[in-house]
Amino acid sequence: MHLSEGVLSGPVLVAGAALAAAGTAVGLKRLDPDRIARTAMLAGAFFVASLVHVPLGPASVHLVLNGLVGLLLGWPAFPAIVVGLVLQAVFFQFGGLTTLGVNTLIMALPAVIGYGLFSRFLQAGRAAALAAAFACGFLAVLLGGVLVGLALTFTEEHFFNVAVAVILAHLPVAVVEGVVTALCVGFLRRVQPGLLPGRPPAEVP
């Protein structure tokens, strides 16, 4: 899911960077001071998640957790993911600094879309909340795959093949992501429902 340097054409990189910067600005603006700690925590989880590999099928893939980050943060998912990606690029050479904007968009945009679609169900019944969490984690990765395909299209030209390959490759991760997101949401519902969107933060004893 992290596009390497030197793969994409210039205009794609510039457009990605511009959109990612806009998203990050919106995210920072909407960042409630009380939620900074939470945002940082999720940025940390995102940063580390991509080191966790899932040996599925012929390729080994890794967790992305963008669905979970989006579901718990909303727009501030953009700054959280930017920070995580910068650190991954610098420390692990995943992705790269020139592709930072595109990679941010690939992972953060689906996160925010997932938030918009599914966050309202998290305070509903348990089954609905878990299903919504699964769908959010699943869709966030899959949409990311579609964006990867789209970004590569402008360089490789056969969109359909690329997109199908990318989506097929991400299908297993998407399932795993959905399960992990649902597990996290189920846990948070029991332990700290105030962390989930749709409810004012629970008073801390």
Partner: protein, 189 residues
């Protein structure tokens, strides 16, 4: 706060999961070396998994493609030196994974004219060896290539940077610091 400790636990668990078998289709590494008239390349993922069916393209200095091929089961692809000048070898492992490796003219032995005796497989006309010193040089080069092969292999293994716990902890520290900075700046407003 319990969720905090939960997430910390998750992060710690993640950090430890990495080390026994950290395999991720994230970044690819390419290593190339010259042996006689052949360039060997080896392509791997960071955990040592070989890149199968990766596309290797060989470009000249202007970026024109000289030849291309696919890596085999073990991530290897070898080709005869197409031209003795600066070359760039590019690996495209699909879905945005890419790595490259420059080969300089010196490494390819570009200082001399094309060698009189290429690999036996695709041997064109063998030019008559003019000087015994040239023959000697060639023999030496061959022997050295053979002797140095394990060293080159070792270098290729050392070449790929590994994940380190210090980097992971450092990254988390950065995030903590940025959170502090953000909180401070929001407070001042």
């Amino acid at each position: 706060m319990k969720p905090v400790s939960f997430l910390c636990g998750l992060i710690a668990a993640a950090a430890f999961l990495v080390f026994p078998a950290g395999a991720f289709a994230h970044r690819v590494t390419l290593f190339a070396w010259v042996e006689g008239d052949t360039v060997h390349t080896e392509s791997k993922y960071p955990d040592g998994t070989r890149v199968r069916e990766g596309l290797i393209r060989v470009l000249d200095r202007e970026g024109r493609e000289l030849l291309q091929g696919k890596t085999n089961e073990r991530g290897e692809f070898s080709f005869p030196i197409p031209r003795r000048e600066d070359l760039r070898i590019v690996l495209e492992a699909g879905m945005g994974h890419r790595a490259d490796w420059p080969l300089t003219r010196e490494e390819l032995g570009g200082a001399e004219p094309p060698p009189p005796s290429p690999a036996p497989a695709q041997a064109p006309a063998t030019a008559p060896a003019a000087f015994s010193t040239a023959e000697l040089e060639q023999a030496l080069e061959k022997a050295l290539d053979r002797k140095l092969a394990p060293v080159v292999k070792l270098l290729s293994e050392l070449h790929e940077p590994r994940l380190r716990l210090a980097d992971i902890v450092g990254g988390l520290g950065w995030i903590l610091g940025l959170a502090g900075l953000a909180a401070w700046m929001k407070q001042r407003r």
